[in-house]
């Protein structure tokens, strides 16, 4: 059984690779979507593409507008402005039932008075397909989602994961152009989630249908998405592969929402960054900014290197000296809280110094032990500079506050 799945996955992966070359052709395409509810803006000028066989994750906190985007694509909500295209065809004005999209609702929305097989057959029965064809595809789908032995059961008799597979089979039955998953794992416990994520991923590759996922869980986004679109307050902050989003966040929000990030306020001066009394050379990064411009120095906890002796490894730029405030052992790595003494925050701080988070992999932590209140030299392997704005709302693209 296990080997069969693995085989299926490998099989699917081969198909997937072959389709990857055709990526330019997008199946689902959203252009300049805007939407307000009772005067409140929920979406602002959202555009993105989903390629053949690709899975895109819309990642955002609750209220970021991600569900509204999904509902607009499905035809359950009308945008105030903007278009939705499926396979090059403008479907913005088509009702939900003529769009051929498959929605897997958060609650699964299975029909409680129909058995598993009736649920799966629903899309074909309302299309008045011949009885034999219906039976055949229901059999195939139930095999695909491994629910053959549950076909006569009612949804209430199944576990959450099984119900979800019924929901997927039910949408796959009518060969949708795109699958939309609304918080697919929200209702499940942590362990089941991880297992189902992998199952769905394998299944999607097998059937090769593009998918759009909605989630607020960054871990889920990293695992499910070929690409991730980060949404914040109705705006698309950044879209890219998980690596791009994680390694090169373009906004402060993206940096902090996906993974942990340290942010230090600074100023660009002469191809380097001044952070309080400390200057760190940044010839490449600072080139994008003019002298005197306020920036945020952004780095991940794992991009921090620490040294008691002052000898930092090659490729690690010295930032400053700090004192260790806390050490936590967190499984595979060690997490440290440090206070940087020469770096005063731009705000009138009550405690001198700025706290940052650093992590060290277990072998390194074991090789050179560090203790609370040790003084260490702090360096950075990489970091990014982001323009800094006085208020969160002032971003490029919104007319006001550019370059403040």
């Amino acid at each position: 059984m296990q080997s069969r799945i693995v085989e299926a996955v490998h099989d699917a992966e081969r198909t997937f690779e072959s389709t990857a070359s055709r990526r330019q052709e997008s199946t689902a395409c959203v252009r300049n979507l805007s939407k307000s509810f009772r005067g409140a803006r929920v979406l602002e000028d959202i555009s993105f593409d989903v390629a053949e066989g690709e899975s895109l994750v819309l990642l955002g906190a609750s209220g970021s507008g991600k569900t509204t985007i999904l509902r607009i694509i499905a035809g359950l909500e009308q945008p105030d402005a903007g278009r939705v295209m499926l396979h090059g065809k403008d479907v913005t004005d088509l009702p939900a039932r003529e769009r051929g999209v498959g929605v897997i609702f958060q609650s699964y929305a299975l029909f409680p008075r129909m058995t598993v097989e009736k649920n799966v057959a629903y899309g074909l029965r309302i299309r008045r397909r011949p009885r034999r064809e219906i039976k055949e595809s229901v059999d195939n789908l139930l095999t695909l989602v491994r629910l053959e032995e549950h076909r006569k059961k009612f949804p209430a008799q199944l576990s959450g994961g099984q119900q979800q597979r019924v929901a997927i089979a039910r949408t796959l039955a009518y060969k949708p152009q795109v699958l939309l998953f609304d918080e697919p794992f929200g209702a499940l416990d942590a362990q089941t989630r991880v297992r189902l994520r992998r199952e769905i991923r394998a299944l999607l590759r097998q059937v090769n249908v593009p998918a759009i996922f909605i989630t607020h869980d960054q871990e889920e986004a990293l695992e499910l998405g070929d690409r991730i679109a980060v949404l914040n307050a109705g705006r698309l902050e950044q879209i890219g592969t998980p690596e791009e989003i994680y390694d090169r966040p373009e906004t402060e929000y993206v940096a902090t929402f996906l993974g942990a990030a340290n942010l230090l306020p600074g100023t660009v001066v002469n191809r380097s960054v001044e952070v309080g009394a400390v200057t760190i050379a940044a010839p490449e990064e600072a080139a994008r900014f003019r002298d005197g411009q306020a920036v945020k120095l952004v780095f991940r906890p794992e991009e921090v290197c620490l040294s008691q002796t002052g000898a930092l490894p090659v490729g690690c730029r010295r930032l400053t000296i700090g004192v260790i405030e806390e050490i936590h052992f967190v499984g595979a790595y060690e997490r440290l809280t440090l206070r940087l003494h020469n770096v005063t925050a731009n705000t009138a701080g009550t405690t001198p110094g700025v706290p940052i988070i650093a992590t060290r992999p277990k072998p390194e932590a074991a090789a050179t032990r560090l203790h609370v209140s040790d003084r260490v030299v702090i360096g950075l392997t990489t970091f990014r500079l982001l323009p800094s704005f006085a208020h969160a709302g002032e971003r490029p693209g919104l007319a006001m506050g550019v370059g403040k």
């Binding site: 039932r97 609702f105 029909f111 209430a156 039910r170």
Partner: protein, 292 residues
């Protein structure tokens, strides 16, 4: 030390509680007797009185009281109008509930509040309202009459009165079920490709059928016994527009207690059966829904 007292405490308490119960059995039996006695006095005693009166002269007399020309036609009229009312109610009530739950429109709150009006209006007043509106001297009534439709003092008037009086039943039983119905199920059906009608009769209707049937049976039971509005609207012509409850009233007026009792027993039995059926169905459907 501490451990010891802790161990002893329950031993001290439990016999004391046992004694309390044994000393005052009145607390328990008194309440039960009161409840059962009240029920007997208020419900069982009158029922047995009517049974004694109706069956007092034997089964044959009872049967005769129900099947004599006037009684039988009154019974038939009541059943026909009640069935008609129930059918119309089940359709219009479901429609009203659906519109109230699924659509947002100006005046929805008002409409929702007005649904219960028939419960609040004295049925006598309902009758008066209908006579004023459809009476032969009135514009609408006169116009209808000139077109050959007699409403007041005829069967249509009875049905209209029953419809008005029983309108809330189906609406109020279906509405909460519709509200609880996961809207995602409907949306799923649309995205799968179903039309509004297909979605309604394949997804929504199966879910609300128990509520529709319950509401219909309740409105049927209510229609069987309606008196206040009918006596004003129907004209009460024996053999033509005399309904069973009005017949009972007439028999009492003319000192035929046995005849009044016989018809009452039948109406009582019908209503009681309906209530038992509703109760049984609800239990069955509840179980089915929880463990299908």
């Amino acid at each position: 030390m501490n451990v010891d007292t802790a161990k002893m405490e329950p031993a001290k308490v439990s016999p004391r509680r046992g004694v309390t119960i044994r000393r005052r059995p009145w607390g328990r039996w008194g309440l039960r007797t009161a409840a059962v006695g009240y029920l007997g006095l208020m419900i069982l005693l009158p029922i047995s009185a009517i049974l004694a009166s109706g069956f007092g002269d034997g089964l044959a007399a009872f049967w005769g009281d129900l099947t004599n020309g006037i009684a039988f036609s009154a019974l038939r009229l009541t059943l026909i109008t009640a069935v008609l009312t129930t059918v119309i109610n089940s359709v219009m009530g479901t429609l009203t509930a659906y519109v109230l739950v699924r659509y947002d429109f100006p005046g929805r709150g008002m409409l929702n509040a007005m649904i219960d009006m028939p419960f609040a209006i004295p049925t006598l007043v309902t009758g008066v309202m209908l006579v004023v509106l459809y009476g032969p001297q009135r514009t609408l009534g006169a116009w209808l009459e000139s077109n050959g439709v007699q409403v007041i003092f005829a069967t249509p008037g009875i049905v209209l009165a029953l419809l008005l009086v029983t309108y809330p039943f189906v609406v109020r039983t279906v509405q909460p079920v519709l509200m609880e119905l996961d809207k995602a199920q409907e949306e799923a059906s649309y995205t799968i490709g179903a039309s509004k009608w297909t979605t309604f009769h394949r997804i929504i209707l199966p879910a609300i059928t128990p509520a529709v049937v319950t509401g219909s049976l309740l409105s049927f039971a209510r229609a069987l016994g309606e008196f206040g509005s009918i006596i004003i609207v129907a004209g009460n012509i024996p053999g033509r527009t005399l309904t069973a409850p009005v017949y009972v009233f007439g028999q009492l007026e003319s000192y035929n207690q046995r005849g009044a009792s016989a018809m009452s027993i039948l109406l009582l039995a019908l209503s009681f059966t309906l209530i038992v059926i509703v109760d049984w169905m609800q239990k069955r459907w509840d179980i089915e829904y929880a463990f299908p």
